[in-house]
């Protein structure tokens, strides 16, 4: 299938927002999506963006049944390993179901790795849900290690009330 991968522009944010919701539905967590295309526009296209994004586009003649030509995306940001240096975190990788099996997901992943290489990033990291076998197999086939299984790393989060409470403690220092 004919497709191209390019950096997202501000005008793509409505499509990216649509696909973020589709990915959340796939991951059984649609109620967790709190941001809209407006936050994406503000946070991804400002002076010091919080993330970068690549989109996969197909020509008009291959558009989806609803008429979309932007059919996949990869959203990532730069991180730092105090052991190894600059790294990339792949926050989302998604291809619409009817466009899977055509190398678009792999194309997006490779393009992110290429961007990282140009910035001297030494690692590409991401997280995947334990029940998501097709994705786990996809990443394992590309040489990714599962650090939760092999080294025992657990992802920890503070948000909402727990984050507010923690931040309030700082005022007491």
């Amino acid at each position: 299938m004919n497709f191209k991968i390019r950096p997202a522009i501000k005008e793509d944010c409505k499509e990216i927002s649509r696909m973020i919701m589709e990915l959340a539905v796939y991951e059984n967590m649609p109620d967790q999506v709190k941001i809209t295309h407006e936050e994406l526009e503000r946070d991804g296209f400002c002076e010091s963006p919080f993330f970068e994004c690549l989109v996969a586009e197909v020509p008009e003649e291959h558009k989806s049944k609803e008429g979309f030509t932007v059919v996949g995306y990869a959203l990532y940001f730069y991180t730092y390993s105090t052991w190894k240096g600059p790294s990339i975190f792949l926050e989302d990788l998604y291809v619409m179901p009817e466009f899977r099996g055509n190398g678009i997901g792999k194309g997006l992943l490779c393009k992110v790795a290429e961007v990282g290489k140009k910035k001297q990033c030494v690692r590409l990291q991401l997280s995947v849900l334990d029940w998501n076998t097709p994705s786990r197999d996809f990443y394992a086939a590309k040489g990714a290690q599962d650090l939760t299984v092999s080294e025992g790393w657990h992802a920890i989060r503070f948000d909402g009330q727990s984050l507010d409470n923690l931040a309030n403690e700082a005022a007491k220092i």
């Binding site: 290489k117 599962d146 931040a167």
Partner: protein, 169 residues
């Protein structure tokens, strides 16, 4: 105990590099540390820094037997959740063993949370090793969630040859 928390500056990189190695030793992964003081200076204090740091300092009279007054640090950077928006990731949190149990670790982590909220962040994320019970207990006591246990998230990494291979055009 009398201590202060402040933003790290480029002169702190020598002590931060020292403590990074101490933390790696504690995590039984010293051989993984490739970063030097110079790397920290370049990566953290250039025009577009990859990270930010805060340090915990004690007064001269409480310095360690080796003469250190910088006895803890937290290193963090801004990240993004496609569901929740702006987030902050705490890469390292460390306090030298002889200064633990005094609220310094909590103060460092709280400061990261406060800075994150001020920047409009909705999450503070980090990782911990499953065998590191004292750290896990500390974090849980502060009210966080272990999303590997509760939601099934696994941390994945591509590096070295596998990453080189992916990055080929």
């Amino acid at each position: 105990m009398d201590f202060s928390i402040r933003a790290a500056n480029v002169e702190d990189c020598k002590d931060i590099a020292r403590m990074i190695v101490e933390l790696a030793e504690y995590e039984k992964m010293t051989e993984h540390v490739k970063i030097t003081q110079r790397d920290l200076e370049q990566d953290g204090f250039s025009k577009n820094p990859f990270f930010h740091g805060i340090v915990a300092e004690v007064p001269e009279q409480l310095r360690t037997k080796d003469g250190h007054t910088k006895i803890g640090y937290a290193l963090y950077f801004y990240s993004y959740s496609s569901w929740a928006g702006r987030a902050v990731y705490m890469e390292d949190l460390y306090v030298m063993p002889e200064f633990r149990g005094k609220g310094i670790g909590k103060a460092l982590m709280s400061k990261v949370a406060q800075l994150g909220l001020a920047a409009g962040c909705n999450q503070l994320n980090f990782t911990v090793l499953d065998w590191n019970q004292s750290s896990r207990d500390f974090y849980m006591s502060q009210g966080c969630s272990d999303i590997t246990t509760s939601m099934g998230y696994h941390c994945m990494r591509c590096e070295g040859e596998a990453l080189q291979h992916l990055a080929q055009p």
